[in-house]
């Protein structure tokens, strides 16, 4: 699951995750989407760029 807050600064970033994921899937530029969502600091941005969703991978082993 996507982290609720930025590890470094503490900004609540999870609320922007679904919008980000949707817009990336629509082919928009990552940097432009992050700027638009108000994720301006690089501490928060790296979490978006580096996140891997694991729920679907783990679900069959419950």
């Amino acid at each position: 699951m996507f982290p609720v807050r930025c590890f470094t600064c503490g900004k609540v970033i999870a609320s922007s995750w679904e919008a980000y994921k949707q817009r990336i899937a629509d082919g928009e530029d990552k940097a432009a989407v992050l700027d638009d969502l108000g994720i301006t600091r690089y501490c928060c941005r790296r979490i978006f760029l580096a996140h891997v969703e694991l729920v679907d991978i783990m679900a069959p082993y419950q």
Binding site: M1, G10, V12
Partner: protein, 266 residues
């Protein structure tokens, strides 16, 4: 001390604090980060959890969700006059979501049901956990007031920081343009007779000093005004930025007066 507000919204602010000391600016910054109490889920009673996350991970995620707090209505449990929990120090929130047999479902912070209508998650669309088919989560979160110094979930101020006000002086410029090219933030521009700095972009200067190095005749100098600070801050949503600053200043005031009391008894 003067305050000159540059930007102000519910969630973020930028202002110039002038005629003060670095000690006061830092005190304000620290108070906003660590000493303004907010509400956050602290204890979690898990009734059932068949999701992919462990109970502990789920509890951490719930704790980090900012809750809208009214400063006057709640007190940290240690400072409360009651023995073991009263409506002023303990707020119960419940989360009970079950995915159907046909399709999964995302649980959002908006699914949390609060026992006190004044206490709500600051943002309703924070994903907590994705439930697959037939999975369910039933739990009760108990929220307490706490301080940012104890855990990041109680930290109301986000990314509070300041820098000194830059002073850029240009004297005897020959309009060679070397400093304009080297400035990483494009603060300088070529005027009619010499290089100019616009008042607005001056605040954007990072005091890197590249322009000083680039100038061969030492016509430009960048120094900092040590009694003025450009302050930037954000709130996590538990308070508006306005409330946060006022609460932070009140906290400093209260600490200072209790310090005075202690000193006067010596």
């Amino acid at each position: 001390m003067e305050i000159d507000v540059l930007e102000l919204s519910d969630r973020s602010a930028k202002f110039i604090l002038s005629n003060t000391t670095a000690a006061f600016a830092n005190g304000l910054r620290r108070a906003m980060l660590a000493d303004v109490p907010t509400l956050a889920i602290d204890d979690v009673n898990v009734y059932n959890n068949t999701s992919v996350l462990y109970d502990e991970q789920l509890a951490l995620r719930l704790g980090l969700i900012p809750l809208v707090t009214s400063f006057d209505d709640f007190v940290p449990q240690d400072e409360c006059t009651c023995e073991d929990g009263c409506p002023a120090c303990v707020i119960s929130l419940t989360l009970s979501v079950e995915a159907t047999a046909d399709e999964g479902r995302m649980v959002y912070s908006g699914d949390i049901v609060s026992s006190d209508p004044k206490v709500q998650p600051a943002e309703m669309n924070i994903p907590i956990i994705e439930l697959k088919v037939n999975q369910k989560v039933v739990l009760e979160g108990v929220a307490h007031m706490g301080y940012g110094r104890d855990h990041a979930k109680w930290q109301a101020g986000v990314a509070c920081g300041y820098k000194n006000l830059p002073i850029i002086t240009i004297d005897g410029c020959d309009r060679c343009g070397a400093c304009v090219n080297v400035c990483p933030r494009n603060i300088l521009c070529l005027g009619d007779k010499f290089v100019e700095v616009s008042d607005e972009s001056r605040l954007n200067c990072s005091l890197c000093g590249l322009c000083q190095d680039a100038c061969e005749i030492d016509a430009i100098s960048v120094t900092e005004n040590e009694s003025s600070f450009i302050f930037t801050m954000e709130s996590d949503g538990s308070y508006t930025v306005n409330e946060l600053i006022i609460n932070a200043v009140n906290t400093i005031k209260r600490k200072a007066s209790s310090m005075g009391d202690i000193l006067s008894t010596l």
